[in-house]
């Protein structure tokens, strides 16, 4: 049998591990022969696995414009992720993908002002888009990033935010944390409230990712500010096994998150039953 099958994975080597927050690490993955294992678009996902431990879907956090490697920001929360957090540089993992659709960076988002709203580990899928936009800066309008987390230590990619994003022109970064903390002189408060406070202009397209509660309240806030559902994109996650819409578990109504998603425009999502 010469045909490839998507269920038979490829190999990747972890070349760098960065501790982002107490429970989030970012892993850099390259193919054994060097370079990226496969190409992807911002928002797409990949199935990572350690054979015998488990397999799970993670969003690719590096931008497609990065030609050398892929990155995954992973929060420690289950069997596989615990294992990944314990491994050392040089470990091989299996990887298959890319799966799902992507944020429409080359179509609907082109030429638009962009507002990114992220909470906690929800920055991971958006980071791919943000860096893609930074690398193709002339294709997009103003960029504003609202990012919040429980505490300063829980802000993923804090160093990159400060060192790179904040220094870029035409990018406004607004950070917030849930509770006051020593050594933090920025904004304190929940993300949805902060978005309302900032009162962004309604001519921008919004990309939201974070805990379901945050998404829900952010959307309500955006509506109050006059945003339409068609202006908002989000990315979903449910239990997945195959990644290609065959194993039958990640559906919301008739849509499979792994195949028809994970990126949904909010008006598409609100037509689907409330089961996520």
């Amino acid at each position: 049998m010469n045909t490839n099958d998507t269920l038979i994975p490829l190999l990747g080597i972890v070349t760098d591990i960065r501790q982002d927050t107490p429970d989030v690490k970012t892993f850099r993955v390259v193919a054994p022969e060097g370079g990226k294992v496969f190409e992807h678009m911002p928002g797409q996902c990949a199935m990572l696995s350690i054979p015998g431990v488990g397999e799970a879907m993670f969003s690719i956090t590096s931008s497609p414009t990065n030609t050398e490697f892929m990155e995954f920001s992973i929060k420690k929360c289950g069997c596989l992720t615990n294992w990944l957090h314990q491994m050392d540089v040089g470990q091989m993992i299996t990887i298959r993908g890319p799966y799902g659709n992507a944020f429409p960076v080359e179509t609907e988002l082109k030429g638009k002002n962009l507002l990114f709203v992220a909470g906690g580990i929800g920055l991971a899928p958006l980071r791919s888009v943000i860096n893609y936009v930074r690398d193709n800066r002339s294709n997009y309008g103003n960029v504003r990033i609202v990012y919040g987390s429980r505490s300063k230590n829980d802000l993923v990619d804090y160093q990159e935010i400060i060192d790179e994003w904040m220094k870029d022109e035409g990018i406004e970064v607004n950070l917030t944390i849930d509770n006051p903390q020593e050594g933090w002189d920025g904004h304190v408060g929940f993300v949805p409230d902060y978005v309302k406070e900032l009162n962004p202009s309604t001519d921008s397209t919004v990309l939201v990712c974070g805990p379901p509660v945050m998404i829900k309240f952010t959307l309500a806030g955006l509506k109050e500010l006059g945003f339409e559902e068609t202006q908002v994109y989000t990315t979903m996650e449910l239990r997945m096994k195959c990644g290609v819409g065959k194993c039958g578990r990640c559906n919301i109504g008739d849509k499979y998150v792994c195949k028809d998603g994970p990126v949904f425009r909010y008006d598409e999502l609100s037509e689907l039953p409330d089961e996520y």
Binding site: N4, P51, C77, L238
Partner: protein, 340 residues
């Protein structure tokens, strides 16, 4: 072209087929139920309407190895363990099960093609069997299936003193050509009589008038939000019987097994009725049996039609009607949700 084999020559036919490739036929077990078994000399074709397990096993087996891994320190080696499947024949597949292959095809043969399924599908020849004695639990006609004229590569029609054969595909023509010396010409008018007789019985079935008008992809939210689900699902015990005997249930799980010498990754049937089906590290979107129960029927009656031009995901074989431990089934669900 209609060909015929006399009942007396049936054993010869089975011998001839099984001499060249593996042949599976439905045969009676001691407990009175029928199941597909590999043909061995002397085995008798069952008269039962349907087997306990559906024929989907042949293309989508309950467990199947996908890939093997060898682990050494930080290194992983991926071994492609796929082998070309050998040719085989399934004889005596009913119209409902034959249709279920079309539904499975729509999942497994769409891009990206599932090579494991395709491998089996390419090498299998399906000989269907027209129904002459449908049971009270049959309702395939509700889904537009004609049990007097089932699909497959070859169709067999029982006609008293033997069987008529009709090839439907190239594979089927070849199948009939290979056994041509055992066959004689069939009489088309007799076939029409047999079919007419069955059609009259079909009209008398208690579920003959089951309607699918209230279902389909366009009724997603009203059906999903129906207040009937709570009552329907209250007695569901959450076992997987309905999903495992169902010819169209196609969900699977992927698991790893450590053989002590390496890892084998295999897939096995999974059931949306199980609580861990959608369990994630941080929670479960289907918290109670109500959501899981609803998923199964919504999938068959709404989600599949939504993605396949209105074609339903049920074939009306009646297995879940016969096997559910508490006798809750798709017919009761359809009747309860029906908009009169």
């Amino acid at each position: 072209m209609l060909r015929k084999i006399t009942a007396a020559k049936l054993d010869q036919l089975f011998e001839a087929i099984s001499g060249k490739q593996t042949l599976y036929i439905p045969t009676d077990r001691e407990d009175g139920a029928a199941e597909f078994r590999k043909y061995e000399s002397g085995m008798k074709l069952s008269n039962a309407l349907n087997t306990v397990r559906s024929a989907k096993d042949f293309f989508f087996p309950q467990t199947e190895n996908l890939v093997a891994f060898k682990m050494e320190g930080k290194k992983i080696e991926v071994k492609d363990i796929r082998k070309e499947c050998e040719d085989f024949v399934i004889f005596g597949v009913r119209a409902c099960d034959a249709r279920s292959f079309d539904i499975l095809d729509k999942v497994y043969l769409v891009d990206p093609v599932d090579s494991f399924y395709k491998n089996r599908r390419d090498h299998g020849t399906v000989v269907t069997m027209a129904c002459t004695r449908p049971a009270e639990t049959c309702f395939c006609t509700a889904f537009g299936i004609n049990p007097t004229m089932p699909g497959g590569d070859v169709t067999a029609f029982p006609v008293g003193d033997g069987f008529f054969f009709m090839a439907n595909t190239e594979k089927g023509e070849k199948f009939l050509a290979d056994i041509d010396d055992l066959l004689e010409d069939g009489d088309l008018s007799r076939l029409a009589d047999v079919q007419e007789n069955t059609r009259n019985i079909l009209k008398k079935l208690p579920l003959a008038n089951l309607s699918t008008d209230s279902f389909g992809g366009d009724k997603l939210n009203e059906l999903f939000n129906s207040d009937k689900w709570a009552g329907l699902s209250e007695s569901c015990i959450g076992c997987g019987t309905c999903t495992f005997v169902c010819p169209t249930c196609q969900c699977y799980d992927i698991k790893d097994f450590n053989t002590g010498d390496g890892i084998v990754r295999f897939r096995c049937w999974d059931s949306c009725m199980y609580s861990d089906f959608t369990q994630m590290a941080h929670g479960n979107p289907r918290v109670s049996q109500l959501e899981r129960f609803r998923q199964r029927f919504m999938h068959k009656l709404v989600y599949i039609p939504a993605n396949n031009n209105g074609e339903f995901g049920c074939v009306g074989c009646g297995r879940c009607l016969q096997k559910c431990p508490i006798s809750m089934n798709i017919v009761k669900v359809m009747k309860a949700l029906e908009v009169k």
